[in-house]
Amino acid sequence: MLELSAVTAGYEPRRPVLRDIDLDVEQGESVGLLGPSGCGKSTLARVAALLHRPESGHVVVDGETVHDWRYRAPRELRTAFGVVFQQPRLSADPRLRLAALIAEPLRAVGRTGEIPRRVEELAATVGLGAELLARRPHEVSDGQLQRACLARALVLRPRYLVCDEMTAMLDASTTAALVAVVEDYRRESGAGLLAVGHDRTLLERWCGRTVHWSQLTGDRGGDRAQDLEPAGRTAPGTA
């Protein structure tokens, strides 16, 4: 189980964008987190994926308490997460061909021998042909790049997937297709999912359980005038 308890986090001292949040995701469970733009849900997603150190509170992953975040987090913990952000261009190294992009986390953990087979498998799963795999990010569309980013998130077979507005830039059919990829993976692997977004129809259709941000904050949060959460910039599995 992924447990967040009493998490307070932000970007400037004494100006937390979220306060005292509790949220659990069981193994195999899919949780949709709904909230308005700028409420802090992306920040919470980054804390959950060990990409942002909270000011206070606890994160426990399958019984193991997290003490360090980002590149300082122990490898077994870091690699337990696959993360997909809203804007693939911000989390894709522009120099890498899509095949190398998908393989990035494997290379980072030194499992280079698995690269050819895994990239081939995952490219088929997310629907990228050989021709697209040889291109660089600026030579593909956003949807094509997001397919590659989803493949990258799955390449280490994570125990938890954190999808922050994964489909916000995608058309209806690509959205349905990528959601199906995530769900197939979960069914087969038993992974847990935290899907963050603001499309109620989508999250309710996708996830077993949806919670609204206001339920987590007791209506304290969601101050849209604040609108402080920055767009995710860290590439998962790199660092």
Partner: protein
């Protein structure tokens, strides 16, 4: 669009037979846009929709003269007297981008200059495009922010300190500064929640008014339904249907089978992806590009369907229904 409508003024934008291909390694070509034709009139909003990678953004880049060096184009796109396809970079940079076409970009956070605050970017654009007296630049930039509902107390932030929604509004504010007659919005509502989507597109529609035209590229069919007068559906680089938005989203529904399946993929409808993938744009089939995924395909579909009566299909949905 009606045949016996009173003489309509010239369109703001007239696109004819526009094609874009990218030359790739080994002399293959990515045919990103093929033979696109449409008009856009004053006061009109045209929504361009279609599956990821179908060529929407490339079409927008072509209109702006922002294609990369390996692109080759054919056809024309007249903005008034200027053919955007043949105008030189000088003309495009000096008198088209920002001044006659305002661009609301697809990845606002990536489009904004990362090392500079929103205020300084707005002020620079104000100086460049409207050249007001020095003392008024600051106020003009603040008004620009206001028009796009960008909060004044965030003006001194850098792009990475903004949520997706705020970055989008900053980009919209930049696009409106030059008072261009054509607004080109590439996915202007990406990452916004429903309230903000509605506010943003209503705002774009309001800015369009009677004195501008809006070309909105979007994957958000609800946003398109909300403000579009007409809808153009793109598939594998071709426009396969252009329809009145009321008809398209209403009882009549789409006429092209692909458009029908795209609507069905919505989570409020079937939530089923269209099986398979669009063809690689390096190896387009000779016939209808949708045939491999189309349940209505017949032998006739091995021949390319002509774009007639606003749709390119041998077996349109209404014909079968009638």
């Amino acid at each position: 669009m009606t045949p016996d409508a009173p003489a309509t003024p010239d369109p703001v934008l007239a696109v004819r037979g526009l094609s874009v291909r990218f030359r790739m390694r080994g002399d293959t070509f990515v045919r990103a846009v093929t033979d696109a034709s449409f008009d856009l009139r004053l006061g009109e909003c045209l929504a361009l929709v279609g599956e990821s990678g179908c060529g929407k953004s490339v079409l927008a880049s072509a209109l702006l003269g922002l294609l990369p060096g390996n692109a080759e184009t054919a056809g024309s796109a007249h903005l008034g007297d200027t053919d955007l396809m043949t105008a030189g970079e000088n003309v495009l940079a000096r008198s088209v981008r920002g001044r006659r076409i305002g661009l609301v970009p697809q990845s606002p956070a990536a489009h904004l200059t990362p090392v500079r605050t929103v205020r300084s970017q707005l002020e620079e654009t104000v100086r460049e495009l409207t050249g007001p007296p020095r003392a008024e630049v600051r106020a003009a930039a603040e008004r620009a922010a206001e028009r796009a509902a960008f909060p004044a107390d965030h003006l001194d932030r850098h792009p990475h300190e903004l949520s997706g929604g705020l970055a989008q509004r900053a980009a919209t504010a930049l696009a409106l500064i030059g008072d261009a007659p054509l607004l080109l919005a590439d996915e202007p509502t990406t990452g916004l929640d429903r309230d903000l989507v509605e506010r943003t597109v209503d705002e774009l529609k309001r800015h369009t008014g009677d004195s501008r035209a809006l070309l909105m590229i979007t994957h958000d069919l609800a946003a398109a339904e909300r403000i579009a007068d007409r809808v153009a559906v793109m598939y594998a680089g071709r426009i396969v249907e252009i329809a009145d938005a009321g008809d398209f989203f209403g009882a009549r529904g789409p006429r092209h089978p692909y458009a029908g399946r795209l609507l069905d993929a919505l989570p409020e409808r079937e939530f089923t992806p269209i099986p398979g993938m669009p063809p690689e744009l390096t190896a387009l089939p000779d016939g209808c590009a949708f045939a491999a995924r189309c349940t209505r395909a017949t032998e006739r579909c091995d021949r390319l369907p002509a774009f007639e009566n606003s749709v390119a299909c041998h077996h349109t949905l209404e014909v079968q229904r009638a």
